[in-house]
Amino acid sequence: MSIEPQTARRAIPDRLDTRLGRWVKGWEALLLVFLVAIFAANSLASPYFLDPWNLSDATYNFTEKAIIALAMGFLIIAGEIDLSVAAIIALASTAMGAAAQVGVGSAGLCAIGLSVGLLCGAFNGFIVTRIGLPSIVATIGTMSLFRGIAYVVLGDGVYKGYPADFAYFGQGYVWWVFSFEFVAFLLLALGAYVLLHRTTFGRAIFAIGNNPFGARFSGIRVERVKFLLFLMTGLASGIAAIMLTSRLGSTRPSIAFGWELEVVTMVVLGGVSILGGSGTIPGIVIAAFVMGLVTFGLGLLNVPGIVMSIFIGLMLIAVIALPIVVRQILNRRRVT
């Protein structure tokens, strides 16, 4: 997203940090400290917080969004963005609801949810990489389009009556307190980590985000990689749609409204540069936990949802502003 000129000042340090030293100074360590603080604050604020089942319930707060955030992280690192993810959930959920009305079974519903996600992702990828639209505007358009179709189909109605075994994806447990959603999230996070940090495909994404022209000259098929990333984000939204629909047991066209902003917040909070080119999967995962636990803790304290959103907004700005302010103060001191 070429909204901001890249004005990073690059300097070659005299001495490189050790691996551990780098990590301690890194974003993930900061987030982790923050997470521990929230954990401690929550367990002090409410005696029920540390109960395993309570913690398990807390994960429902963020797993669906976090699954999309993993894919969105790839996309933002590559310098693009997808604001239509919540609308894809609405459309996929509507399609699944319509299919459930005519008696399609759970496996069929999942296939429909995933295919709608993939189709929407492919459409986004097509208009961004083939037609060449800036992704931020293009996906604002598809956001209206996808959710608009859901409204056309459903109006002010609602789909209910999903098959009984469909409830597993949003309400089932794999083992003890570990829900299907949570386990799926952990596995997907592991897969995303390997893909981004341990494969050439992952390196290509960083290369594209840092310098798309340079990447093209290095033989990376930039458009194809970006298309795949949009496809991946669509698929992740499809997965989230299955889980959310199964958890709620009903579909309205306003389902998951406004989630795109929460997902982007999660990714940025996780240390991914909104300008592209840097970020890590562990950062996104920790940020997901941070956001989930903050909202859950506030929920235990009976804080209404919209007030929580103030905290999320403040957190987003504060965590990004803080290192900048600290750096500015340090630099000033060095000059004098």
Binding site: I140, T142, L261, I306
Partner: protein, 328 residues
């Protein structure tokens, strides 16, 4: 083709598209083009037009302001509650206050972007939730209904002067001022310079951060004024007013040919873009299309409009690799 003639061509194209649209609507409902009805449509679109002009200034500087609708909601709620609890406050002061609150909220965005160098999309994503959250905190989730506001407060935008309601006149006035500021002042030209080429702007002696700050102030100011106008026009204030309206505003800019990459756009185009959306919104019910279609249609139009704009803007690249199988 020079950017200027390209833009003029795009505006002409959009004007023709609007005429065709009105023509198509008239085949179903012949009264649509009656002057009184067109005046109504314009009045309905007035707030969108005002917001689009502020957003355009921001987009010109290669930024984006997602917080305009939240700013509108917070400001609207503030003045509605003031009017409810202290009805004796002079109306002029209330309006001045709405402009002031909006300006302050816009300045917060601008300062974070200018002084801390945080990308605008991140800042306004944050303040979007914060401002709307504050509207909830302030009101406790309560509505301010028509009977709790004074008649003067509610009737001002409706008051008809020379055949048009004051709301329309305000929009026209702001369009005129925006055209002057963007076209004829150094501030307006620096918006274009900063977005067109930030590095060159620095060498030309323009403070990029400060210029962005002014653009966000302008956007906030117009959002604040719109806050009062919205509450007075719809005679109700609640937390969710204008929910998601920021996307309509950005869409209208894009349809009007304002380039999201900054530096390109005109007041005329932006106004036409807003009118295009406004006409569709007004026409759907009269041609018996369910209002549920509106979202899907505006989405499709945004995509179509950007596609058309991108064709003109695209930088022609030198093909460095021949496709496989192509004969040299």
């Amino acid at each position: 083709m020079s950017p200027k003639s390209l833009l003029a061509q795009r505006e002409a194209f959009l004007a023709v598209a609007i005429l065709l649209l009105v023509g198509a609507i008239m085949t179903r409902f012949s009264g649509f083009a009656a002057p009184a009805n067109l005046a109504n449509v314009f009045n309905d679109t007035a707030i969108l037009i005002i917001l689009v002009l502020g957003q355009m200034a921001v987009i010109l500087t290669r930024s984006i302001d997602l917080s305009v609708a939240a700013n509108l909601a917070l400001t609207g709620m503030a003045v509605a509650m003031l009017n409810d609890s202290a009805p004796e406050t002079p109306l002029a002061l209330v309006i001045l206050l709405s402009a002031g609150i909006g300006l302050a909220l816009g300045a917060i965005n601008g300062l974070l972007i200018w002084k801390l160098n945080i990308p605008p999309i991140v800042v306004t994503l944050g303040t979007l939730t914060i401002y709307r959250g504050l509207a909830f905190v302030m009101s406790g989730g309560e509505w301010v209904n028509a009977h709790e506001m004074t008649p003067d407060f509610l009737n001002l935008p409706r008051h008809v002067v020379l055949g048009l309601p004051i709301l329309s006149w305000v929009a026209l006035l702001i369009v005129g001022v925006a055209a002057l500021v963007l076209g004829r002042t150094s501030l307006g030209r620096s918006f274009y310079a900063v977005g067109g080429n930030p590095v060159a702007a620095i060498y030309a002696g323009i403070d990029v951060g400060r210029t962005r700050f002014y653009a966000f102030c302008l956007s906030g100011l117009l959002a604040g004024i719109s806050g009062y106008l919205w509450v007075a026009r719809y005679a109700v204030a609640y937390v969710d007013i204008a929910g998601g309206f920021e996307l309509d505003v950005i869409a209208a800019c894009v349809i009007g040919g304002v380039s999201i990459a900054g530096g390109i756009g005109s007041v005329g185009g932006a106004v036409l873009g807003a009118l295009f959306l406004g006409i569709i919104k007004n026409a759907l019910p009269v041609v018996n299309v369910s209002p549920f279609w509106q979202m899907a249609i505006s989405g499709a139009i945004i995509i179509a409009a950007v596609t058309i704009n991108v064709r003109g803007e695209r930088v022609k690249g030198r093909p460095i690799l021949r496709p496989a199988g192509a004969t040299p």
